[in-house]
């Protein structure tokens, strides 16, 4: 009996030490959303569970290894005990009860992070190889829609992300917001986030999506309501100007669609050919022929990327469904890159 009491004390002591250690290690990133608070509450609970279970097994195990080890010159066998039904029933029943308790807690916790505000701001998110595109609600005055490759959010306002993918499966994850949701082609998935800390974060694709999966990271900016409004109106202004100047419009389209994830504008190597000094240059194709990179060639390559593949490039570029005006703007922009 004394042994059992001593062991119980040791188990509790080790549990406490493990919890303190895990707490001190600060394993979770900054809490930047109200959902993160709920998730971290569950994590704290799990720290206790993990610490207790570890201690519960390891303490008596190491105790046995020391106390019941065969000492030098010792002969004979261990005590002949082959089971105890009462004990087995106890250590089946208690975990069963614990599972029911945690099922209830886990369900409630899930409901907390899914709770939707009917006035949530809706942002449409499109993932594609290998960038993100965010479409904001239309400006009530001009009717213009802001599209950006950056996610800007006002603090304290719930946002409903309505997400889809134009090619393969991606996954939206801002570690500081905690929650994760896949983007599936052919359907919309939802994620609600209520940012709670002003700051700069990044959305990082969490579902393997091909060659440049690691670099599918775009900025996420949580700002005050005023800063957010200022950013939005500057974007609307930009869109107005762009409508009149094809080069500027092309530059905005390039940013919105994350083209530079593959095509550098600096001459650096990438997944796709660089655009620097591309216009008018002679391009060697994979079938051995050459072609001049003129308006017709560039238009074709954007519309039907597989029609002509540049030599030594293997990755397939997706089609983006640009309008003729947009393609003309893109080509006009590429032409300026000298």
């Amino acid at each position: 009996m004394r042994k059992i009491v001593a062991l119980s004390v040791a188990v509790l002591l080790v549990t406490w030490l493990l919890i303190v250690g895990l707490d001190a290690a600060h394993v979770m990133p900054v809490e930047a959303s109200t959902q993160a608070v709920s998730v971290d509450w569950m994590w704290k609970l799990m720290e206790i569970v993990m610490s207790f279970l570890t201690a519960l097994i390891l303490v008596p195990m190491f105790y046995s290894l020391v106390v019941f080890r065969r000492r030098k010159g010792e002969t004979g066998e261990g005590v002949h005990v082959d089971g105890n039904t009462k004990l087995e029933l106890i250590w089946t029943a208690i975990p069963l009860v614990a599972v029911v308790v945690f099922a209830i807690l886990g369900g409630g916790n899930l409901a907390d992070v899914l709770r939707q505000d009917p006035n949530a701001m809706v942002v449409k998110v499109t993932g594609h190889q290998w960038s993100w595109k965010f479409e904001y609600p239309a400006d009530p005055e001009t009717g213009l829609t802001v599209v950006s490759d950056e996610l800007h959010l006002p603090v304290g306002q719930q946002v409903l992300l309505l997400m889809t993918s134009s090619d393969v499966i991606h996954s939206f994850w801002v570690p500081e917001f905690r929650l994760k949701q896949d983007l599936v082609p052919g359907r919309f998935t939802k994620l609600t986030i209520t940012p709670s800390e002003v700051g700069n974060y990044a959305v990082r694709c969490a579902e393997l999506c091909g060659t440049s999966h690691a670099y599918m990271e775009n900025p996420v900016v949580v700002s005050t309501r005023d800063d957010y409004s200022a950013w939005l109106s500057s974007k609307i202004q930009e869109a107005k100007v762009a409508a009149t100047d094809p080069v500027g419009f092309g530059e905005i389209l390039v940013k919105q669609n994350g083209c530079v994830a593959c095509h550098s504008i600096t001459g650096a190597a990438g997944i796709g050919p660089t655009w620097l000094n591309l216009f008018g240059a002679t391009v060697k194709l994979s079938d051995g022929t050459t072609v001049t990179a003129d308006q017709a060639y560039l238009t074709e390559s954007i519309k039907d990327p597989q029609a002509k593949i540049v030599a030594s490039f293997t990755t397939q570029m997706p089609t983006y469904g640009f309008t003729d005006d947009q393609i003309a703007a893109l080509v006009a922009y590429i032409e300026t890159l000298k």
Binding site: P60, L65, E77, D82, V184, T189, G210
Partner: protein, 684 residues
């Protein structure tokens, strides 16, 4: 042969590797008009030629060499056949990797079937089909040579499985070291954009190696547990062999062409989906994807047939008096694992086959543009791929329960509970698959029942842990190398176990999913549930198979080097995972501050590799030079240790009868088995 066969083998490997490389280069030049020195075609030829030549040098033109030759010829014949038909139909005959994708797939399939004919594992069946009788047993070649041809002896097949598994573990580990080295620092160091190997850039090659690390390790684990089950189960239950010896050999030899196909996927452009092969990404990847699907498909057949055999053997061939609750405990877990293998493996084969057909025949099963559903694939895939982790760990947990009483010198605590908990884990484990899909976009409410069922796994698993601790309590614990690995298993599997519940809680899972936390968690479960017990089993049964024991000192060095390195590795993974390190990325944002942690992880990976190297040297040296050990080395009560080692060809010369409980250590005068007096009822 005058020279040392192993030296011959390597000479042939190099020579024919060079010949294959030259041939591939030339043919590629002929078709495309360009030399591709690091291209896929030259590499594929070099791979096929060198592997077949290696075994030719080692063993001559029979058995495995003949099989591989048939596979190479079959592959090219099949591919040329499709190419010819495509030419006649006016379709594009040749493609980036010489043959078109349908030609490679058909060639791969024909090659795998041709292998089975070449190696000779179907010849008895073919003879029977023609009405020709064959002897019940075939005499095996003497010495090491019997392992390179078809043998029907379960012990030979068990060793074939085991050594193949060790080879594959080394290959998978090597892949891990390559990408682990790249990950030691942020930014790309050698797997860069400018690299071109097998027609892949650095990041593409990373994706291929990372994906193959996963699947090669999975196949190696399936082979490893098949090795343990094949070798041990018939001996433990007193059978002369498995129920279907020819099917047993057939199942083993299926795995060899499967491995060749998996290796082909590396050189034929690779693939970038991870081992999970989710469409639409897998519907777009290079030809390597198809070789991967085909390889898994063939390996799956091996696993299904192996499981069938273990079940039939356990149900029908037990010694007299061996009632269900007097079975050696390992047999219970082998049975539970085999039931999963037999019933769930079809689903991964099916899901991969559907993607294969989507690519080949434009059937839009998972293509949203054609009304397909990518999430459906994930359900089909995980319906096997979750239960299969219990196939990996159940035999390992069985090894722990089997060996613990031997070294604690005490009965297994709560035998019936431990036995039934294996079936409990197998049952609950088959209704938890969608917990891999909490973030997938499946129906939101479906996540809740899967959270419940997932947590339920903790109950039978807990029974095992408590019973193990209670077995140790009050024992006279000895700690030779096998016991060290058993204890290591319990500790490592415990860490894998306790890090499970956080994944089950849906909201928290949405943070943990697809991060290094999960990578750390499952490496703990697989090492604790398979790798450590596998080593324990190897050290433990090595004397039974060879009549010699492995070096104890180097065994302990292996353990004490591997265990701490491994724990630091997985704890480090979990830590950076919580902080935001995603899975399956070739590079990470330096701003996240993971550089130091990643460097430590890489160092740990290399320490583990060194310990495995020590093990391999010890293993192969001890076959010839180990200390002679023909008796009951571990003072075990188990039947196989009551006869001298190595075990004779048809196991027990005199059949035994079960007269007591298997683990009654410490009960004076008790006996588990008794051999029939005066050889009465002697077999033959």
């Amino acid at each position: 042969m005058k020279h040392n066969p192993l030296r011959n083998a390597f000479v042939f490997l190099l020579a024919f590797g060079a010949v294959g490389y030259g041939a591939g280069l030339g043919i590629d030049r002929f078709v495309t008009g360009d030399f591709h020195f690091s291209g896929a075609v030259a590499a594929a030829f070099a791979l096929l030629f060198s592997v077949a030549a290696f075994f030719f040098g080692l063993y001559g033109y029979r058995g495995v060499t003949r099989g591989l030759t048939f596979q190479v010829v079959g592959m090219f014949a099949g591919a040329l056949f499709v190419t010819l038909i495509r030419t006649l139909m006016g379709l594009k005959a040749f493609d980036a990797f010489l043959f078109s994708e349908p030609a490679w797939v058909f060639g791969g399939l024909v090659g795998a079937i041709a292998f089975l004919f070449g190696v000779g594992v179907v010849s008895d069946w073919m003879k029977w089909a023609r009405g020709i009788d064959t002897p019940e047993h075939h005499e095996d070649e003497p010495g090491w040579r019997k392992f390179f041809g078809v043998s029907l002896d379960h012990k030979v097949i068990g060793i074939q499985y085991t050594v193949t598994a060790l080879f594959l573990i080394s290959v998978g580990g090597l892949f891990a070291l390559i990408f682990r080295t790249e990950l030691a620092e942020s930014q790309l160091q050698f797997l860069t954009e400018n690299l071109r190997l097998f027609d892949q850039s650095g990041p593409q090659l990373y994706n291929t190696l990372m994906s193959l690390h996963g699947m090669i390790m999975i196949v190696s684990i399936l082979l490893g547990i098949a090795g343990i089950m094949n070798y041990a189960v018939p001996m433990l239950i007193g059978a002369r062999d498995m129920a279907f010896p020819r099917l047993n050999a057939f199942a083993y030899w299926l795995s060899v062409p499967a491995i060749m196909l998996l290796l082909m996927s590396l050189v034929l452009g690779g693939f970038d989906t991870g081992w999970t092969g989710y469409p639409p990404l897998s519907a777009r990847a290079p030809v390597g994807m198809q070789m991967f699907f085909l390889g898994v498909f063939v390996a799956g057949w091996s696993s299904i047939l192996g499981g069938l055999n273990v079940i039939a053997t356990t149900l029908r061939m037990r010694a007299k008096g061996m009632s269900p609750f007097r079975l050696p405990i390992l047999v219970w877990s082998a049975l539970a694992a085999s039931i999963i293998q037999l019933t769930a493996t079809q689903l991964i084969g099916l899901s991969f086959q559907l993607v294969m057909f989507q690519r080949l025949f434009d059937m839009g099963f998972f293509d949203p543009a054609k009304g397909g559903n990518p999430v459906l694939f994930q359900h089909l895939f995980w319906f096997y791929s979750h239960p299969v982790v219990y196939v990996f760990v159940l035999p390992g947990l069985g090894v722990i329960s089997e060996l613990l009483p031997v070294f604690a010198r005490k009965p297994l605590f709560g035998y019936r509970w431990v036995a039934l908990s294996s079936l409990g884990i197998a049952t609950v484990g088959s209704i938890v698959w969608a917990h891999h899909m909490f973030a997938s976009g499946m129906n939101e409410y479906l996540r809740v029942p899967f959270m419940y069922s997932t947590m339920l796994v903790a109950v039978p698993t807990g029974v095992k842990f408590f019973s193990w601790v209670a077995t140790l309590w009050g024992g006279k614990i000895e700690t030779p190398t096998p016991m060290l690995f058993v204890l290591g298993s319990i500790v490592v599997f415990l860490f894998g176990g306790v890090t499970g519940p956080p994944n089950a809680m849906v909201a928290l899972n949405l943070h943990l999913h697809d991060t290094y936390w999960v990578v750390g968690h499952f490496h703990d479960t697989i090492f604790g549930g398979f790798v450590f017990p596998f080593f324990a089993a190897l050290y433990y049964w090595f004397p039974k198979a060879t009549g010699r024991r492995m070096n104890e000192f180097w065994g302990k060095v292996h353990f004490w080097l591997m265990t701490p390195s491994f724990l630091v590795l997985t704890f480090g993974m979990m830590f950076i995972g919580l902080r935001g390190m995603r899975r399956r990325i070739v590079d990470y944002d330096p701003a996240q501050g993971f550089d130091h942690a990643q460097l430590i992880l890489t160092i740990c990976a290399f320490l583990i590799a060194i310990s495995i190297l020590i093990f391999l040297i010890n293993f192969f040296r001890s076959i010839k030079h180990g200390e002679v050990a023909t008796g009951n080395v571990w003072k075990s009560r188990s039947p196989e240790w009551q006869v001298p080692s190595p075990m004779p060809a048809h196991n027990y010369d005199v059949p035994f009868e079960v007269v007591g409980e298997p683990y009654d250590y410490g009960l004076a005068g008790s006996k588990y088995i008794e051999f029939a007096a005066d050889g009465a009822g002697k077999k033959h």
